[in-house]
């Protein structure tokens, strides 16, 4: 029996697999049992009501999609009245993704959520490329990251996950800033700012012109960023970018991720999350690894002369 549990800061998850924010909602319960997941992560909520971006909101590209959904949000009262009670029927830890236009807004929303039973952790989405002009977001710079994470840290005692952007030139520096300001874990990363043009009409493919690229196409880029962040910060890294299979998840863990988020793959196979969990157990079995957590950071960069991987999981 493989031990699939992982520790993310003070939290113990039954397994390292959870959905990426924005690719998960109640409707998926028609297809998968949420209690099999390591955690669930809600779609980002905001205090203000948001209708989202103009259509079209999604365009597919080879190996992925560009989206500019724009975080439609029904606001906080709806979340308390409908969403929180819905998840109360499950045992799985509930991570609530939040966004706000200002550091104070982030802090206020985090404080209000911290009062609510049923919220296990907060994921601060300081990196959505679709809600600020030109894809700017707090996580683009270490200074603004520090400001918002400090405000959040003061506002909540719940585990605080901070979702970083892949669209910055110095991600390790931003990761260090988030850690120093009190983040308990870093989610690396969000979508990659992108665009596409319809050659039949000369018009942008998306109503918002620019959007965020996700899916297998971005995996090698974000994998590298997880590797960099894991070396730059001591807090756990949650890898998120193009994971569709257990092999993808294992690769992220070897690069330094403690847990992983599966997003766009769910749009292709609605039970992708479950397939990744079951596949990780098989992967560990195949490599004689008894605890999945041993994969984290087990990438070999030395010039070891033996080919076997016995050192990853030494006999007890």
């Amino acid at each position: 029996m493989i031990d699939l549990s992982v520790r993310v800061g003070s939290m113990t998850l039954a397994n390292p697999v959870m959905p990426a924010s924005g690719t998960f909602a109640e409707g998926l319960d028609r297809v998968i049992d949420f209690d099999r997941l390591g955690a669930v992560v809600t779609k980002t909520i905001t205090r203000e009501l948001r209708t989202g971006n103009p259509l079209p909101r999604v365009v597919e590209r080879p190996g992925g999609v560009i989206n500019a959904i724009g975080i439609p949000s029904k606001g906080v009262p709806y979340f308390f009245k409908e969403t929180l009670p819905y998840y109360a029927r499950y045992r799985v830890p509930l991570v609530v993704s939040i966004s706000a236009p200002t550091a104070e807004g982030f802090a206020n929303l985090a404080a209000e959520l911290s009062e609510m039973p049923g919220v296990t952790a907060i994921e601060a989405n300081i990196s959505c490329p679709n809600i600020e002009e030109d894809g700017k977001a707090f996580a683009m710079r270490p200074g603004s990251t520090e400001t918002v994470v400090k405000a959040l840290r003061t506002a909540t005692k719940l585990p605080l996950w901070v979702k970083l952007t892949p669209n910055t030139g110095d991600l390790p520096e931003v990761a260090r800033a988030a850690e120093a300001a009190g983040a308990d874990a870093l989610v690396v990363a969000n979508t990659i700012l992108a665009m596409s043009i319809d050659l039949a009409t000369f018009r942008p493919s998306l109503g918002n012109i620019m959007g965020g690229l996700s899916g297998p196409a971005i995996k090698p880029i974000v994998l590298r960023q997880v590797y960099q962040c894991a070396r730059a910060a001591r807090v756990p890294i949650i890898g998120c970018g193009g994971i569709a299979t257990a092999e993808d998840a294992a690769e992220y863990m070897l690069a330094g991720a403690t847990a992983v988020q599966v997003g766009t793959a769910t749009f292709v196979q609605p039970d992708a999350l479950i397939a990744v969990i079951d596949g990780l157990a098989k992967f560990c079995e195949k490599h004689d690894i008894t605890r999945v957590s041993e994969l984290t950071g087990a990438i070999r960069t030395d010039e070891a002369d033996e080919a076997d991987l016995a050192w990853v999981s030494p006999p007890q």
């Binding site: 049992d33 209708t51 989206n67 959904i69 297998p216 397939a275």
Partner: protein, 289 residues
């Protein structure tokens, strides 16, 4: 086989099992279905029949499936493609679709051979509802919209509701499924662009005639904004109910991603609704053409 994403394998038909002690049960699934037939029925449309059993057999008229289309040469459709239900036969274990080759996804579907397998996810969305008090309904469809209305003809007959179907197409040889509707005792009235009979004014005349004859307790429509407007006007004038099946580009199909929202008029307020989750069948008067 697709190369860029997770593929179903024969042993992953089970939707992942459940947690210990869980009461959860799947009500939709991505299933591998065997292709029984995939034939051209005219120059533009093809008829696909697959066999799969499972949750797919619970599909009702107006619902849809998300098809993981094979990749045609030189193209890489990444997302699934929504396709409305054309027919379901629980005894035979079959699900049917009628599609027009229009893009990378449907070009991929056209490559399917008998014996191939197709990954279908469903049934999804909210279908049509038939009020037992209705004795006569009118279905108005254009193009592929007729495919969506076809299973409604079967459901209406089962409930002893008479259907009159106005079929609109560019030319007579593109009018679909007349035999299928007639086999359900539906009265079919084809109108075409070529014959100059498909314009809103002429269709309105036909509909007014049906209303006057007491043959229209409710409208059902799919496939034309212009004809939707005509029916909305008549529904208001005569106080008749109606339902419309709408299309929209989709990503997840399960109400998760908010890709497929449209504007609706709910009691005078314009609000977004997800076509995949709140629909694809909506109240006739709430839809905005």
């Amino acid at each position: 086989m697709r190369s860029d994403g997770p593929n179903k394998t024969a042993d992953s038909l089970d939707p992942g099992g459940k947690s210990p002690g869980s009461l959860w049960k799947a009500s939709a699934a991505a299933q591998l279905a065997d292709v029984i037939a995939n034939t051209a029925i005219n120059t533009e449309y093809r008829h696909l029949i697959v066999r799969c059993g499972g949750p797919a057999m619970q599909a009702v008229p107006g619902q849809f499936f998300q098809l993981l289309c094979p990749q045609p040469a030189g193209e890489q459709p990444y997302l699934r493609r929504p396709m409305s239900l054309y027919g379901v036969d629980p005894n035979a274990g079959t699900v049917e679709f009628l599609y027009k080759i229009a893009g990378a996804g449907t070009r991929g579907l056209a490559t399917l051979q008998v014996g191939d397998r197709l990954d279908i996810m469903g049934p999804l969305g909210v279908g049509f509802t038939l009020d037992p008090a209705w004795k006569n309904i009118v279905a108005v469809g254009r193009g592929a919209g007729l495919a969506t209305l076809a299973p409604l003809a079967v459901a209406a007959r089962q409930r002893n509701i008479a259907m009159t179907a106005i079929f609109s197409a560019r030319k007579p040889d593109l009018v679909l499924s007349v035999e299928l509707f007639e086999a359900q005792n539906a009265r079919v009235m084809p109108v075409t662009d070529l014959e100059g009979t498909s314009g809103p004014a002429h269709v309105e005349l036909l509909l007014r005639g049906l209303i006057a004859d007491g043959r229209c307790d409710a409208f059902f429509t799919c496939g034309s904004s212009r004809l939707l407007r005509v029916q909305q006007r008549l529904a208001l004038e005569f106080g008749l109910p109606g339902q419309v099946a709408l299309e929209q580009q989709m990503a997840c199909g399960l109400g998760v991603c908010y890709c497929c929202v449209r504007d609706f008029n709910i009691g005078g307020e314009i609000v977004h609704r997800r076509v995949c989750w709140d629909g694809p069948v909506f109240d006739l008067l709430e839809a905005i053409p």
